[in-house]
């Protein structure tokens, strides 16, 4: 379970997150929506400690992420993350991209790591691209590669940071399908997204962020059909 209590984040004078309280249970899919600059992505960065926080706590399965005593590298193995920019490692083949972390971080044997890599790549539909370098893959394929790479670490939670927003429109579908597949398999997911259709169909809950504040959270029907906050209403009106 991910528990966030009174989370504050500043970038210099900029107050990006203003006291967020949030719980995500095992097996839940949470979509985070909101206009850019609302602090959605920063939330994800704070969850896996890529950004330090100024106030509050983030706990994953009871472990305080930002405590000094916490081994962040170990903790991060529980958290898969997929970025807006797919960030595949250009000097490694698809297989090597996926197999690297299990091998050097988890200490698996080379054969075992490659087996995992192959399984995960087939899982995301890249079974025919095992030996390809990222430069030979399309954006959508690279993003699925990034998902496979995260899954290979057998994470318990997946964080998606606008995973589809840098893709060509016709490639968005293949990545969303993969994410949908994961959700159906019961993966716990936090998805920062602009894809309202995805958020509505796949999520268990949807959170709306506005200027560093979580304005509203609830089941998708409630947020999309009966938003309480005026900001949410305005945002959804613009998106539609």
């Amino acid at each position: 379970m991910i528990e966030i209590r009174n989370l504050h984040k500043h970038f210099g004078d900029l107050h990006v997150l203003k006291g967020i309280d949030l719980e995500v249970k095992k097996g839940e899919v949470l979509s985070v929506i909101g206009s850019s600059g609302s602090g959605k992505s920063t939330l994800l960065y704070c969850i896996n400690s890529l950004e330090k926080i100024q106030q509050g706590t983030v706990k994953i399965d009871g472990i305080d992420v930002h405590a000094k005593s916490t081994d962040v590298n170990k903790l991060r193995q529980k958290l898969g993350m997929v970025f807006q920019q797919w960030n595949s490692f250009p000097h490694l083949t698809a297989m090597e991209n996926v197999a690297l972390a299990p091998r050097i971080v988890k200490g698996k044997s080379k054969a075992e790591a490659l087996h995992i890599a192959e399984t995960q790549l087939k899982h995301v539909g890249l079974g025919d691209k095992l030996k390809s370098y990222p430069s030979a893959l399309s954006g959508g394929q690279q993003q699925r590669l990034a998902i496979a790479r995260a899954l290979a670490m057998e994470p318990e939670y997946m964080l998606f940071d606008e995973a589809t927003s840098a893709l060509d429109p016709e490639k968005v579908g293949e990545v969303l399908d993969t994410m949908r597949l994961l959700a159906e398999e019961g993966m716990t997911m936090i998805c920062v997204t602009h894809e309202m259709g995805f958020a509505r169909d796949v999520s268990d809950r949807v959170a709306y962020f506005h200027h560093g504040v979580m304005e509203e959270i609830g089941p998708p029907e409630q947020i999309f059909d009966n938003p309480v906050s005026a900001h949410t209403q305005k945002f959804l009106a613009n998106v539609r």
Partner: protein, 220 residues
């Protein structure tokens, strides 16, 4: 025609010695480059990541190496250090001097290379649970090496050309050996002409080898 009569026979007689010295030139250049790459990498990281005396140390190394002549640097490691009671043999002087110089230039190449690798690669690796060392050795540095591969090749050629200054400090690599023979036979032009050809061939070999190697190394 000219009043000068060419005599090529002594040169041909000492050609085996010259080729042997050519190997020494290559050896010195390769060793200096290996040391230079290692130190250059460290200097680049020190300059980018650290503050305080270590950063200051890296910056001064880089700037002095880049802003003074190699020959000056060799003299310094020779008679300059000798005045302080540190006497290095010519082989060590030339390797030290070239490594010092190459490290300075390569450090800046590496710095450019690191800046060219997107920060997001770092985040991606850290998210997979890799620690800082693993991220650098497995993800960042391999990519930096591709970016600086061409500059490194150029620096290797420079190292070979610069090693010719060995003759100024009494080291008998290709140029030193040539000068030694020329000083006995007084056939300076003939000897140095042949040596120029040998250098040309060495440089072309390095460039060719580098091209072959890059085709094998960088398939992406």
């Amino acid at each position: 025609m000219f009043e000068y009569n060419f005599h090529w026979r002594p040169v041909l007689k000492s050609l085996p010695d010259l080729l042997q010295a050519g190997l020494l030139t290559l050896e010195v250049a390769v060793i200096s480059m290996l040391i230079g790459i290692t130190i250059g990498l460290c200097l680049a990281l020190m300059r980018m990541k650290l503050n305080g005396p270590l950063k200051w140390f890296a910056v001064s190394w880089i700037e002095v190496a880049r802003n003074t002549p190699v020959l000056f640097q060799l003299f310094f490691f020779g008679f300059g250090l000798g005045a302080a009671g540190i006497n290095l043999p010519p082989y060590v002087i030339i390797v030290t001097g070239l490594s010092f110089n190459c490290a300075g230039y390569l450090a800046e190449n590496f710095r450019g290379g690191f800046q060219a690798v997107p920060d997001t690669q770092m985040n991606a690796a850290r998210c997979l649970g890799m620690n800082g060392w693993q991220t650098y050795t497995r993800i960042i540095i391999p990519q930096v090496f591709r970016i600086v591969y061409h500059p490194i090749t150029n620096q290797m050629v420079w190292a070979v050309l610069m090693s010719s200054l060995g003759m100024m400090i009494g080291f008998r690599e290709l140029s030193g050996e040539t000068q030694f023979f020329a000083s006995r036979t007084f056939r300076i032009f003939e000897y140095f002409a042949v040596t120029a050809v040998i250098y040309y061939v060495i440089v072309k070999l390095i460039l060719g080898l580098s091209r072959l190697l890059s085709a094998r190394l960088f398939r992406y």
